[in-house]
């Protein structure tokens, strides 16, 4: 059973590393930006600018954090 659990854990860790990588904050900001875009699209305000804005903020933040390490 331990072996199965370990394999499942390794499988999950592989996919996490494959998609999310070194900085989980990037993934969280992208998900929040998608939710905010969806919310804004239901109003009369244009929503297309939210995703580029999220990227413009999180990319330098993530880079600065990586530089400090």
């Amino acid at each position: 059973m331990d072996t199965v659990a370990k394999r499942l854990k390794d499988f999950g860790a592989f996919w996490y590393d494959f998609v999310v990588g070194d900085d989980w904050r990037v993934a969280v900001v992208v998900l929040l930006a998608l939710l905010a875009t969806f919310g804004l699209s239901k109003t009369s305000v244009a929503a297309w600018w939210l995703m580029p804005a999220a990227v413009a903020v999180i990319l330098p933040v993530s880079l600065w954090r990586a530089r400090k390490r």
Binding site: V19, V20, L34, T37, A47, W48, L59, L63
Partner: protein
């Protein structure tokens, strides 16, 4: 081929060429240091594994309604693309070692020469087999991911698959011809461009999936791609000022991907 299809072809071609270069380096190390026959078996088994994954995931991905697909895959593609772009900016600004196929080849060669030789399941050299198999599957998985996400989102899997096929065949033929790591391929620049493309398409499809409407529809991509590129280059310039040492070459792990 219109502008969007051209950008799709270029993005998939570059991404797949980069991954193929990395896989070829690993297979060359396994074949040169150990046994070409076993390395060949590893490549074959890796390709079969990738074909099974593609056959399983392909219909599932293309069956998802376009809106949901763009939301989920656009989001995942953006997270994945930002990972590439982040590493590319760190490399270009001197905060991370450049990807160096010669160094990776030398490291893999030394490890392959030091490993013990064992035979299993009619494979003369198990080490060569597993090294090639892992190299092909890990690098190929990124190719499958990019082809399926780009192809399904753009409703053009054939052009994405064609771009991947052309890239892989070109790189493999080049690798077979020179029988040495493809160190002259401008891999770091290509990775930077791929990071820009993945991020741009992720922004575009993610927002569309979340029900946003881009001004100019698909033509917005022709603005997003250069904007992301200029922004990333500006970040490189800013971060270079704070770099304590110039970019040095260093080998990276096989599974590190972008």
């Amino acid at each position: 081929m219109n502008g969007t299809s051209g950008a799709l072809f270029a993005a998939v071609f570059l991404a797949c060429a980069v991954e193929a270069v990395e896989a070829v380096t690993i297979v060359l190390a396994a074949g040169t240091a150990r046994d070409w026959k076993s390395a060949g078996y590893g490549v074959g088994a890796g390709l079969v594994t990738l074909a099974v994954i593609t056959a399983a995931l392909g219909p599932a991905v293309t069956a998802i309604p376009l809106g949901a697909l763009r939301l989920v895959v656009g989001g995942v593609l953006l997270i994945f693309g930002l990972q590439w772009l982040r590493k590319a900016v760190l490399r270009a600004s001197g905060h991370k070692g450049l990807h160096d196929e010669d160094a990776i080849f030398a490291r893999e060669l030394a490890a392959a020469k030091a490993a013990e030789s064992t035979s299993r399941f009619s494979v003369p050299d198990w080490y060569s087999f597993t090294l090639s198999f892992k190299g092909v599957v890990l690098e190929g998985l990124e190719v499958v991911f990019i082809v399926l996400t780009f192809g399904a989102n753009a409703h053009d899997v054939p052009i994405a698959a064609l771009a991947a096929l052309v890239a892989v065949v070109l790189v493999v033929l080049l690798g077979l011809a020179i029988r040495a790591p493809l160190a002259k391929v401008p891999e770091n620049t290509m990775k930077f461009v791929v990071g820009v493309m993945l991020t741009s398409f992720g922004i575009f499809w993610g927002a569309e999936g979340a029900d946003a409407h881009w001004p100019g529809s698909d033509a917005a991509l022709l603005v997003i791609v250069p904007c992301v590129a200029v922004y990333a280059l500006a970040l490189v310039a800013v971060m270079r000022r704070g770099a304590t040492k110039p970019a040095a070459s260093s080998p990276e792990l096989v599974s590190e991907g972008a």
